[in-house]
């Protein structure tokens, strides 16, 4: 565990970057430091590997002051990822990744073998091994940066706005990749960002810092969304925090119905029976069970339903894996007001109305409350 103990950073000109900050960073989880520019989040991160020395206070790593070991030994035990990747342009991708193992005295062959392994882990094609950084896209370079930080298998990973310089689509991919890698490796990650959505998506714990380097709130993301500590945090979280909080409730709580579903080759009798339920529309699927669209029972021609005349079904949600937010989004997107639940292969497992989703949200809030938000974060669901 990393313990930041009442740390202050004051520069000679009197500027205070970090002001009596105390944080306990749990092992094997992602702790995000987030805040506006000038809040001292990067300074705090850089104090953990002593790129910046605190003016007051101390930082403990597993109970020992980090100043008790040689600075380069400390740094080699912590992976370090920075915004523009900071790759060595004169070295190949493979040799970039092998840097820290080489510093630790591994022979070239072993270091390169390890680097090749890391390339695979971060999703880089092995054909890139002999390329130089300038031949890679921004997203690929950042993957190399992550691989390089992981190469010596350090227990701690420090990441300073690593995904800020890439476009939103690439960023989303990198974030998901990081969560996947973290599932496999279980590092103690300290992650700095100015993007609250990124903080909520990645963080097990989120520390919101305010300008002047003071801690505004330190909580799991769901709790942050439910109970912001003050106006500053609430303002920083931005709009839609109610909707965004739904990301922390699993859609498995939803009871889906299979009644208003017919296959594309259904008989008149099937259409009549299925159409008699509460739903004003029927969801038509293809013969594999994948959704085609919604239609009114009276409009559907038995035996040969024309998919071109059906209403769109919005974005289906993966039942159980995705959150209530995804289900609600699906319902809002469909003109019928019903969301379509699918399994991992895209086959329909049932449908659910906005009304049922609304009831599930109400009961989730009732069960959750303030205390339950913590549990919600641990049982985080994607989407």
């Amino acid at each position: 565990m990393i313990r930041i103990d009442s740390v202050t950073k004051r520069y000679p000109d009197g500027t205070v970057a970090v002001d009596r900050l105390s944080l306990e960073i749990p092992d094997r989880s992602i702790t995000v430091l987030v805040g506006p520019s000038g809040c001292g989040k990067t300074t705090t991160l850089r104090m953990i590997n002593r790129m910046v020395e605190p003016s007051e206070g101390r930082i403990l790593l597993d109970g020992t002051d980090i100043r008790e070991q040689p600075v380069n030994t400390l740094r080699r035990s912590m992976g370090y990822v920075i915004q523009n990747a900071g790759l060595f342009q004169h070295r190949t991708i493979l040799d970039n990744i092998a840097t820290v193992p080489r510093l630790l005295g591994w022979n070239r062959q072993r270091a390169r073998a390890r680097a090749a392994e890391l390339m695979e882990r971060v999703g880089l094609d092995s054909s890139l091994a002999k390329r130089y950084p300038y031949q890679l896209s921004g997203g690929q370079q950042q993957r190399v940066g992550v691989a390089r930080a992981l190469a010596a298998d350090p227990p701690v990973l420090l990441m300073d706005e690593p995904f800020s310089a890439v476009d939103p689509v690439v960023r989303k991919g990198l974030q998901e990749e990081l969560l996947r890698i973290q599932d496999e490796l279980g590092k103690t990650i300290v992650f700095v960002t100015h993007d609250i959505d990124e903080a909520i998506k990645l963080g097990t714990m989120v520390a919101v810092l305010r300008t002047g380097g003071r801690l505004a709130q330190y909580a799991p993301p769901a709790e942050l969304l439910t109970a912001p500590a003050d106006d500053f945090v609430e303002d920083f979280l931005g709009t839609d925090r109610g909707i965004r909080r739904l990301s922390f409730f699993a859609s498995s709580a939803l009871e889906l119905t299979t009644t208003p579903i017919v296959a594309v080759d259904s008989t008149a009798e099937q259409i009549a029976t299925r159409g008699a339920g509460e739903a004003p529309y029927l969801l038509v699927t293809d013969l594999d069970g994948r959704p085609l669209g919604w239609g009114e029972p009276g409009e559907l021609t038995a035996g040969r339903i024309d998919p071109g005349r059906l209403l769109p079904y919005g974005r289906p949600f993966e039942h159980g894996r995705e959150s209530l937010r995804a289900a609600l989004d699906g319902a809002v997107l469909s003109p019928t007001g019903w969301a379509v639940g699918v399994d991992g292969t895209g086959r329909v497992v049932g449908v659910v109305s906005q009304q049922t989703i609304g009831e599930a949200i109400r009961s989730a809030h009732a069960e959750g409350g303030d205390a339950g938000a913590t549990a919600g974060a641990e049982a985080r669901v994607s989407g």
Partner: protein, 222 residues
């Protein structure tokens, strides 16, 4: 008679190809003086440029030294040195080194300063020693610019080393000075041509060195 005829006459005269005043001897002397001067200048300027560039301090002092060095006339310095220490190699080397130090010093400093700071930050953050950062991270990236500084210094030395002949030492300057004195313009033009060719060869040498020494990852765009 035009210049090309002079050149042709000079090089086709067999007497110019052997003996202590032959082209091979004079060329070897010239190359020797140039190499010694470049080596001394590099030994002085490279370490200073690398260290000041790495730490980013002393830029103003360097600019002052460079300007002062460039302002000193080589020929004047040669005469001054002869007065101070008498004849020999030292009075020749001093002006050549003074001429070569500023371009090496200033470009090395600038080359180090222009290295992207983020790989340096990353290297420091992963626990690399400062000397290793300088030699393994900054130097390979700064190398094309450093080589260009050495190249201009080398070319200036090659063309200026002719002054050695003024104080009775060898080198290609012999042909120019003796030719002028004897009104043998064939000799003057021949000597000048040799100096020019040697300067071009130096240029080619540095181009080749850059091809070999600079990483393909850095070379693009340079």
């Amino acid at each position: 008679m035009n210049v090309l005829n002079f050149v042709n006459a000079f090089f086709s005269d067999g007497a110019h190809w052997h003996g202590y005043d032959g082209i091979p001897t004079r060329l070897a002397e010239h190359i020797q003086y140039s190499l010694i001067a470049l080596a001394i200048a590099a030994a002085v300027a490279l370490p200073v440029g690398l260290v000041t560039g790495h730490y980013g301090r002393g830029g103003n002092a360097l600019a002052f030294i460079a300007t002062a060095g460039r302002a000193l006339p080589s020929f004047g310095l040669l005469v001054l040195m002869v007065i101070l220490v008498g004849f020999g190699m030292v009075p020749v080397m001093v002006p050549l080194v003074v001429l070569a130090v500023p371009p090496i010093l200033v470009t090395t400093y600038e080359a180090l300063r222009s290295v992207d700071p983020s790989p340096v930050d990353a290297a420091r953050g992963m626990g690399m020693h400062e000397s290793r950062i300088l030699f393994r991270v900054e130097l390979p990236v700064a190398l094309p610019l450093i080589l260009s500084g050495l190249r201009s210094a080398a070319i200036q030395i090659v063309s200026t080393a002719t002054i050695a002949a003024y104080i009775g030492i060898g080198g290609l300057g012999r042909y120019i000075i003796d030719g002028l004195y004897q009104r043998d313009y064939e000799k003057v033009v021949g000597g000048a041509t040799l100096v020019a060719v040697l300067a071009l060869a130096t240029l080619g040498l540095f181009w080749g060195a850059a091809r070999v020494a600079v990483s393909p990852g850095v070379r693009r765009g340079a």
